[in-house]
């Protein structure tokens, strides 16, 4: 059973590192509606300095490399976060 899930996490890395380069750059459903109905102007700038705004690793010049790197980093962060934080939060007590 766990072998399939290990495979799933490898697939996730490939999706984030390779498939992400081919993702559509059209606005998503909410953005589209916000644009059409004119309330997109209400959107505020993100209050913090994110490391990878727009899923592109800042400081990397190559656009594809920046996206691939951001995707792989993000996927890894999620895996480690869920794994260790859940473990930590549950074990305490």
């Amino acid at each position: 059973m766990n072998r399939r899930y290990t495979f799933l996490s490898l697939i996730s890395l490939i999706i984030a590192g390779v498939f992400s380069l081919f993702a559509s750059s059209f606005p998503d459903g909410l953005e589209k509606v916000a644009g059409e109905k004119g309330f997109i102007i209400k959107a505020l700038e993100y209050p913090l300095d994110a490391v990878m705004p727009n899923y592109s690793f800042s400081g990397v010049n190559n656009e594809y490399l920046a996206t691939a790197l951001a995707g792989i980093t993000g996927t890894t962060i999620i895996f480690l976060l869920v794994f260790f934080v859940t473990r930590g939060l549950l074990i305490k007590k």
């Binding site: 890395l13 993702a23 993100y46 913090l48 993000g74 869920v82 794994f83 549950l90």
Partner: protein, 231 residues
């Protein structure tokens, strides 16, 4: 469907932060029980009648260990899949939300926690979805999308007896429900009237939801998912 900051009023955002936090804490304390088995600590007793140690410790069970691993892999998958925007009609795109998928694979509360982790990382590291709007996004995609979507799946499965069919429809409808929730929040905040935003949001997400359904079924098929009898 990640709401940026500024779309929602401060009252709406802050109440949804409270709701999201409350559901998250409740989910954690609920799943904790199934992850641990109580074990008696060894007791050291001397002939004089002094005892040292004793009591109980909680030990992570095999089930708990496997579940945490599954949660992490599903989280990684949901994150990566959310990066892949697929085009739908006239210059619009959509991506997987993954609530129903995670709910079926992990259980509704685990799925809510996984979705919340994904949304927190997306906001903090990628500036995708606002910081103040995080509560609203967790509510829409984690509570409505994952917990609501999971129970929708259970209901549909009861009538059609088909796991994949039920997963497809539940995933599809969950996206529409999440978009409807976002519309209601926007209307409450006074950003836009409900009768303008709700039809527009529903229409787009009816299309995006089909993609959600297809991806959900493909992944369940790929993992050779089978419903356990005892669940």
């Amino acid at each position: 469907m990640h709401l940026p900051d500024g779309f929602l009023g401060s009252g709406t955002s802050s109440s949804l932060i409270a709701v999201a936090a409350a559901v998250g804490v409740a989910a954690l304390s609920k799943i904790r029980k199934s992850f641990f088995a109580k074990q008696k600590k060894p007791v050291l007793a001397t002939p004089e009648g002094i005892t040292i140690g004793g009591g109980e410790t909680a030990q992570l069970t095999k089930y708990g260990r496997e579940k945490i691993f599954k949660m992490a892999t599903v989280g990684a998958f949901v994150f990566s899949a959310q990066m892949i925007n697929f085009p739908v009609a006239n210059g619009t795109s959509g991506h997987l939300l993954g609530g129903v998928l995670a709910g079926i694979l992990l259980g509704p509360l685990e799925a809510m926690l996984v979705l919340s982790s994904v949304l927190v990382v997306q906001s903090l590291f990628f500036a995708d979805g606002g910081l103040v709007a995080l509560g609203a996004n967790i509510f829409n995609m984690g509570v409505i999308g994952a917990i609501g979507g999971y129970y929708l799946y259970r209901i549909i499965k009861k009538y059609f007896k088909q796991v994949f069919l039920a997963a497809f429809f539940a995933a599809w409808i969950s996206v529409v429900l999440a978009s409807a929730a976002a519309s209601v929040e926007l209307a409450i905040s006074g950003t836009i009237p409900l009768n303008t935003v709700l039809p527009a949001m529903t229409k787009v997400h009816l299309l995006i939801g089909i993609g959600e359904g297809i991806i959900t079924v493909l992944v369940l098929g790929g993992l050779k998912y089978k419903e356990k009898r005892d669940e």
